[in-house]
């Protein structure tokens, strides 16, 4: 299925449609992200949208879940190669679902869609990284079959 094609499924308040992001979605993505993180990042999401849509289909994937004309979730990621000594693989950078619609498979549909996109682009592994205190999203990715990988993240406070 091409990325421009759409998929539709049932949810409590109406059908959920998973589709590629469009410019008109950015303000709603900003709102959704702000509701979850408490920080408004208009510039960040505008730039990310531009970056992802400049080379759409070139390993970059940005999808939204829409319900009754409203964006209720999104996922963004891309295929990266050879950083950290890694073989090419898909990375999920961002995922969010409207808190009112959680546990209704919206995140699962978004994740499955981006995985299918990565698979079509020729990779067979997907990775992500997140704060270990982000219990909700960690549990979501675990529920999707993700396990701890081979890479260990290290850091140091700079003096």
């Amino acid at each position: 299925m091409g990325e421009a094609e759409r998929s539709v499924s049932q949810a409590p308040k109406g059908d959920i449609e998973i589709r590629a992001v469009e410019a008109r979605d950015v303000p709603e993505i900003v709102k959704l992200d702000e509701r979850s993180t408490g920080v408004s990042k208009c510039k960040y999401w505008r730039e990310l949208y531009s970056y992802f849509t400049q080379a759409r289909g070139d390993g970059r994937a940005f999808f939204v879940a829409e319900q009754q004309g409203r964006v209720v979730g999104f996922i963004a990621g891309e295929i990266r190669a050879f950083e950290f000594g890694s073989e090419p693989c898909g990375w999920v950078f961002g995922l969010d679902v409207d808190p009112d619609l959680r546990v209704h498979n919206v995140g699962t549909q978004l994740f499955e869609r981006i995985c299918a996109s990565f698979k079509r682009a020729g990779v067979d592994k997907v990775r992500t990284i997140l704060d270990r205190d982000n219990h909700l999203v960690l549990a979501f990715f675990r529920s999707q079959g993700m396990m701890a990988g081979r890479f260990i993240q290290l850091e140091k406070d700079l003096d």
Partner: protein
């Protein structure tokens, strides 16, 4: 582990009740010890006992919400300070303590992120993988 085995077995078959003796036999656990564990799980409302003929225990929690850490914490304290206070009196002890704490924090993060529902899925995947491996071995044997 006994509590995790029991609750996982019941969560994996949430549509029916299972007797304590069946669980004890499957996991090679003493029935006496298992009885105490099951009482703890009942008090935590993760399982309920079903009386009468064909009675036993049934899962009654929310498998998508209950994590492995939730179950473990019913039986032991998690997140306490590793190492005794004596080992923190010298630099070597403090350095080792910080590394062990790092390991513990990762372990706790993993246990907190895996729900019973996810564990049941992992078990199913391993069983399917095992069957696939077995099938592949059979195929290669036939091919040979």
């Amino acid at each position: 582990m006994c509590g995790l085995y029991a609750v996982t077995e019941l969560a994996a078959h949430s549509d029916r009740q299972i007797s304590a003796s069946d669980i004890a036999e499957k996991y090679d656990i003493s029935l006496n010890h298992l009885a105490k564990v099951l009482r703890t799980l009942v008090r935590a409302k993760l399982i309920e006992s079903v009386r009468g003929a064909g009675g036993g225990y049934r899962f009654s929690g929310n498998a998508k919400r209950v994590t492995l850490l939730d179950v473990i914490e019913l039986f032991q304290e998690i997140g306490g300070e590793a190492g005794d206070s004596a080992s923190l009196k010298h630099d070597e002890g403090k350095a080792l303590h910080s590394i062990l704490r790092e390991v513990d924090e990762f372990a706790v993060a993993s246990l907190r992120a895996i729900t019973l529902s996810t564990l049941v899925k992992i078990i199913a995947r391993q069983q399917n993988g095992g069957r696939a491996d077995s099938g592949a071995r059979k195929s290669s044997a036939i091919g040979a």
